[in-house]
């Protein structure tokens, strides 16, 4: 299988803004090595502050790595062209409130240089996929949170990406919304797309992911297939995750 995403010895440090002498930079990611293959649904897990979003920020060029390298489809992530074949859904979706969904998608499609005729077809297709055809002319600011999340998915899919990077795509959604997002991810998987996503919904990860990586305190703790992890730890993914990050249940008083 060919590698879609590769990370080598990635290290990200942020300046420490805490007061006090002798405080060095804050280490967000430490020596991360990762490889995501074509056609995989890859779960990127870890507790809050583990370094998941920072890693994604490096992949998308928002944050510079202190050391190491990352590439998407063999292109260094610092180059804008590396993002030509990817779709990204941020954890919190905020889009231009003065635009309607159709205008927003047209704007993003233009950035991907999708030809005008094909652009309209693509907009129709993604709006149908996320079930927002009826409200395509409505300003985004009038949408509910679930609808805004679907706009987020629509914009992430506008270029028919080969790699989707989703940062907690189901956070804050109701069960119906979560189910819809899950269905879309599964459909993309059937189409042979690669999905790299972070989530705290471990049951969901167990259902749809081929492989997972668990990050804790900036370091990669475990990487492997969901089935292997479950077998190795003799429990479901949630309990395996808790063991890996060193969670100790408090004894009863």
């Amino acid at each position: 299988m060919s590698a879609v995403l590769e990370i080598h010895d990635l290290r990200v440090e942020f300046p420490n803004r805490e007061l006090g002498k002798g405080k060095g930079p804050k280490l967000a990611v430490d020596g991360l090595n990762l490889r995501v293959n074509s056609g995989e649904v890859f779960g990127f897990l870890g507790p809050n502050g583990a370094g998941k979003t920072t890693t994604m920020n490096v992949l998308l060029g928002f944050v510079n790595a202190t050391a190491g390298s990352a590439s998407i489809f063999g292109v260094n992530v610092r180059q804008p062209i590396a993002r030509q074949r990817i779709g990204y859904l941020p954890e919190l979706t905020y889009y231009y409130k003065f635009l309607n969904t159709e205008e927003l998608l047209r704007f993003y499609a233009r950035i991907f240089r999708i030809p005008r005729r094909e652009r309209e077809k693509r907009i129709d297709a993604v709006l149908k996929l996320v079930e927002l055809e009826e409200s395509r002319k409505r300003l985004i600011k009038t949408y509910s949170k679930g609808m805004q999340q679907r706009v987020g998915l629509a914009q992430a899919l506008i270029n028919n990406p080969d790699l989707l990077i989703l940062d907690e795509p189901t956070s804050g959604l109701d069960p119906l919304g979560r189910m819809k997002v899950r269905e879309i991810i599964q459909r993309l998987k059937q189409e042979g797309k690669t999905v790299f996503f972070s989530s705290h919904e471990l049951g969901e990860v167990e259902t749809i992911c081929d492989r997972v990586a668990i990050l804790h305190e900036g370091k990669l703790r475990v990487e492997g297939s969901v089935a292997d992890l479950v077998k190795e730890y003799q429990c479901d993914l949630e309990h395996a995750f808790l063991k890996i990050v060193g969670y100790q249940p408090k004894s009863r008083v």
Binding site: F62, Y96, L99
Partner: protein, 259 residues
């Protein structure tokens, strides 16, 4: 260029869908109309004075539109996080900055054309003449001046955290240059030692925005200035705007966008 025009298009769309832009716009147009239609015994000096006031008003309004519009562009993108899905696409940070610049500058240009159109119509209806050359030069040089200002404010929006502080600092600098910029060399001559050198250096370093204020051509019905001078001022303005945009890109290109 595709990405630049895409971003610029969104900037313009945002402006014409916001209400505050129209408030200033309608207010200026209204005052221009009222002042222009007032008759004071057809006294030439009073007519000239009113024309001067109207044009000053157009300058102030265009300055406020340029500064306030540009100052919020990048901070608002970061605050509302719309910058993340945008820069996650094949769009370079340089294209993003130039797109914002083109959008703001184009919006200022549209505002200028409408302001001068109102003024020109009123003025021509009373004086039965419209000297096209001076009018064109006044609008053109005004627009080039706004190009430098937009680039300056864009740089400020990367350096200063809050749009309000950026707008205030930029307005003070711009007004300072407009009033004192042209006199700095005169001041430097009268100074001795390092002070004089510093003032001279400032004189040569600052963008001379005062050169672009050619209201007198219209107010006093002087003819058009030499077109070579106009072309020279255009080149100077574009180079300065380019230099400021280059600085903006240098500061922004490696800036971490993590929150």
């Amino acid at each position: 260029m595709n990405n630049i025009f895409a971003v610029a298009g969104v900037v313009v769309k945002e402006l014409y869908r916001r209400k505050d832009f129209y408030v200033l716009f309608v207010l200026t147009a209204l005052i221009t109309l009222i002042l222009g239609s007032v008759s004071f015994f057809n006294d030439d000096r009073i007519v000239r004075y009113l024309k001067d006031v109207c044009l000053l008003l157009i300058w102030i309004s265009s300055l406020v539109i340029a500064v306030t519009t540009t100052a919020r562009q990048i901070p608002a993108e970061r605050e509302s996080r719309t910058i993340f899905p945008l820069l996650a696409k094949p769009m370079g940070r340089g294209e993003f900055i130039v797109g914002k610049f083109v959008g703001c500058w184009a919006a200022c240009g549209v505002a200028l054309i409408v302001f001068y159109f109102f003024f020109g119509v009123i003025s021509a209806s009373r004086e039965h003449t419209l000297p096209l050359g001076p009018y064109f030069q006044a609008i053109w040089l005004h627009w080039i001046c706004l190009g430098i200002i937009v680039a300056m404010v864009l740089l400020g929006s990367i350096v200063f955290a809050a749009p309000s502080s950026n707008a205030t600092i930029c307005l003070i600098v711009i007004v300072g240059i407009m009033f004192a910029g042209g006199h700095l060399n005169g001041v430097a001559i009268g100074m001795r030692g390092a002070g004089g050198v510093i003032v001279y250096a400032i004189y040569y370093l600052i963008p001379h925005l005062e050169w672009y204020d050619v209201r007198d051509l219209i107010v006093h019905d002087w003819g058009a200035i030499d077109w070579f001078i106009c072309a020279g001022a255009t080149i100077y303005g574009l180079l300065y705007a380019g230099f400021l945009l280059g600085l903006t890109w240098l500061v922004f290109r490696r800036k971490s966008l993590a929150v």
